[in-house]
């Protein structure tokens, strides 16, 4: 009897392993073109950064008034998207939701790639990156900037561990079963990274307890990273930033952006790796429900953030809000388009089951991510244009902000690096946890290995 079960287990296991690791062995033309496309982008961005490095930040559109431009807006965006790792793996995972099993690793890959780029774009925003170390040598503990640097680094470490630790059994499976199918260097990489995993009960015990601790730890750290990021603005006395709800406002906004990013990534991974059997309509449906939930919370915070000061219209706030609320204001059109496509329409469509299918969810996801980026621009830049005390004797052009081509190129380049990292991680590592899927299907993995 047990022989039959074992044979059955082996059969299932072989199929799962084959399905979920097939993409490691292939190098289709489409993938090469995609990577080439991203690398071209990045190369142009590096050239543009060379100019910026040589000539200084004067080549960007940033001046005395708007000293935080696209770079810092993108920084907030990167941090926001990175929060999805915590949302999916920790918040939903600790609630014992089973549907996140094939989703969680993609979420962690996105989290790691984007939080790394959050660190990079801060350096890009520095006119003198050679003075980066001064932040650590002379930084003041009283400054939210130091807290932000600390928490970003901590988040990078935890994201890495949460991506790497649960991957150990999968790496061991690949090492054991696919030596013949892979190029030598690739197999060697898995061999080293699997850390000699053999799947003893003791190893599993260590793995489970460590992951569990990290999943609990990442909740306050992730709340911390985005709350502190919001404090960079909210602890400055500025119309539009002078808000007590900035922390939760940012965190919920991050969940929306992250849910969108995961939907987009899942769609393409499922399509190109032919994983329809593992990432099903059910997962997109659940992800859609989660997206609507967090978007509704975010909508609630948006109401508070814009309607409460909009009701009072204090002098400085009024000036700031006029640029957003009036269609003739500098950011009016962008504001309404962002709120419409980045928040309200996704909520409305997400309420219907027929739109929580893979393709519509991908479209909604793109709207959410693009909307999230523009929302960060709206949060950061208009406020800077309206200082409480105008700067004296500056050229008229300083009162406006027009990002230059170089600035846009570099920003897109950094985004391309983030996408490249996600693409490479998803190409060279199993995107769906093999052992967890097997466990779900009732295979006794500890014995099988």
């Amino acid at each position: 009897m047990s022989e039959i079960i074992k044979q059955n287990d082996e059969k299932i296991m072989t199929k799962i392993t084959k399905d979920l690791t097939h993409h490691l062995t292939t190098r289709p033309l489409g993938f090469k073109l995609w990577i080439g496309f991203l690398l071209t982008f990045i190369a142009v961005a590096i050239w543009a950064y060379g100019i910026q490095f040589e000539k200084g930040l004067g080549v960007t559109g940033m001046r005395d008034y708007v000293s935080w431009g696209l770079y810092i807006a993108s920084f907030v965006f990167f941090v926001a998207v990175a929060l999805v790792g915590m949302l999916i793996s920790a918040t939903v995972g600790l609630l014992k939701q089973k549907w996140i099993v094939p989703v969680s690793r993609v979420a962690e890959m996105i989290a790691l790639a984007f939080v790394l780029m959050a660190g990079v774009i801060i350096v890009v925003d520095m006119g003198r990156p050679d003075r980066l170390l001064n932040v650590f040598i002379y930084g003041r503990f009283q400054s939210p900037i130091i807290w932000d640097i600390t928490v970003v680094q901590v988040y990078i470490l935890i994201s890495f561990l949460l991506l790497f630790l649960p991957m150990l059994p999968d790496l061991a499976i690949i090492r054991n079963h696919m030596k013949g199918d892979l190029p030598k260097w690739q197999w060697k990489m898995y061999n080293i990274l699997s850390l000699g995993w053999v799947g003893t009960p003791q190893q599993y015990k260590i793995l489970h307890s460590t992951v569990r601790v990290l999943l609990i730890l990442i909740v306050p750290v992730a709340l911390g990273i985005h709350t502190v990021t919001s404090w960079l603005s909210a602890m400055t006395l500025r119309a539009g930033w002078d808000s007590t709800i900035f922390g939760p406002y940012y965190v919920t906004g991050a969940f929306v952006a992250g849910a969108g990013a995961v939907a987009v990534a899942l769609y393409f991974i499922r399509r190109f790796y032919h994983l329809e059997e593992y990432i099903t309509d059910y997962h997109f449906d659940k992800l859609g429900q989660l997206m609507v939930l967090v978007a509704l919370v975010y909508l609630y915070f948006n109401l508070n953030e814009f309607w409460v000061p909009g009701f009072k219209m204090k002098t400085a706030d009024a000036k700031h809000l006029h640029t957003l609320f009036s269609l003739h204001g500098e950011y009016g059109v962008m504001f309404y388009l962002t709120q419409m496509f980045g928040l309200i329409l996704p909520i409305i469509f997400g309420l219907f089951r027929r739109f929580r299918k893979p393709f519509p969810m991908m479209i909604i996801g793109i709207a959410l991510v693009v909307g999230a980026w523009f929302k960060r621009v709206i949060i950061i830049i208009p406020t800077l244009i309206h200082a409480y005390l105008p700067i004296q004797n500056v050229p008229e052009s300083f009162h406006e902000y027009d990002p230059t081509g170089i600035e846009i190129t570099i920003t897109l380049g950094v985004i391309a690096v983030a996408v490249l990292i996600v693409s490479l991680l998803a190409k060279f590592f199993p995107v769906i946890p093999i052992w967890e899927i097997a466990e779900e299907k009732g295979v006794d993995i500890e014995r099988d290995l």
């Binding site: 930084g139 503990f141 009283q142 901590v154 470490l157 630790l165 990290l214 730890l217």
Partner: protein, 303 residues
């Protein structure tokens, strides 16, 4: 550029004032034309008049100095101590000028200053005009303005640290050339500061020793303990400026001292430092523990 704009504005305003004063028309009531002072010409009314003058008139007319002719040009209002003004205007005419103004630079004070007070101001103005004859109508003999007759030589200020008082000492000579201590001379003492002077006393009289002591209170000093004083006696007959040390120095609390949110890193508030370090070190410790688990897993590998 800015300076020339200011110059132009100044020129325009001066010419406007001149134009205004050219059109100025004094309105004198017939019934008041020859009127005499309607309050008693005495010390009390003169002092009261000075207070009103200081608050209402001085901003334009400034200090009164006895001169032959008006020595001030526009935009300053005339020096009311000039003999030409004093001799050609009756009390009633001055009263009307105060009440109605001239429709130009001089505004009307009909409602702002009561009639009695207007007369007191006039009494004060007249105290600068020795030739002023008290009208028989008032039927009062004016008290002498200064009880001291003679020449004032000097005024000296000193600080009495025991009683925390500023002491003004006058010296002078009487009519016969003998050195005396002038008694009953009016002394004014001011503390110099930014934006105007702070009066310590204004017109108080010296005692039999020719001295006047004014309590200083807890006036702030500079960081070395000095205050700058300005004193004059008998309408600027003698005056002095002195710098007196009256305390150990004003010790202000430097807001950069101590542990504050706005201070340098070495002065981080302890609660913040402890919170930051505790949280950061604990989180890093857990992460280090997690990395150590990787090592443990590695140690359990198949050998």
């Amino acid at each position: 550029m800015k300076k020339s704009i200011l110059n132009i504005i100044g020129l325009i305003s001066i010419s406007l004032m001149i134009a205004a004063s050219a059109q100025a028309q004094w309105k004198i009531d017939d019934g008041l034309k020859d009127a005499k002072l309607k309050v008693d010409y005495n010390e009390d009314n003169i002092t009261a008049g000075k207070a009103i003058y200081d608050s209402r008139c001085k901003a334009c007319h400034r200090d009164i100095v006895t001169t032959e002719k008006n020595d001030r040009a526009l935009p300053s209002a005339p020096n009311l101590g000039n003999k030409e003004f004093q001799s050609t205007n009756t009390d009633g005419e001055i009263f009307c000028k105060i009440a109605y103004g001239n429709g130009g630079g001089m505004p009307p004070f009909e409602k702002q200053i009561s009639d009695v007070d207007k007369w007191k101001v006039i009494a004060y103005l007249r105290s600068y005009y020795p030739a002023y004859k008290v009208s028989s109508a008032s039927a009062q003999v004016a008290a002498p303005v200064n009880s001291f007759k003679g020449t004032l030589n000097a005024i000296k200020l000193s600080y009495d640290s025991e009683n925390n008082m500023i002491v003004a000492q006058l010296s002078g000579q009487d009519g016969d050339g003998n050195t005396v201590k002038p008694k009953g001379v009016k002394v004014s003492i001011y503390v110099k500061r930014y934006f105007g002077e702070l009066p310590l006393c204004d017109g108080e009289k010296t005692d039999a020793n020719g001295m006047l002591s004014i309590p200083l209170g807890n006036l702030p000093t500079d960081t070395m303990g000095f205050i700058m004083l300005k004193a004059s006696a008998a309408n600027n007959a003698v005056s002095t400026e002195s710098k007196l040390k009256v305390s150990d120095g004003y010790h202000w609390k430097n807001p950069l001292d101590g542990r504050h949110l706005w201070a340098v890193r070495a002065k981080t508030p302890l609660w913040l430092l402890i919170t930051y370090l505790t949280v950061t070190i604990s989180v890093l410790a857990i992460i280090a523990w997690a990395f150590f688990q990787l090592f443990r897993i590695y140690n359990l590998r198949e050998r």
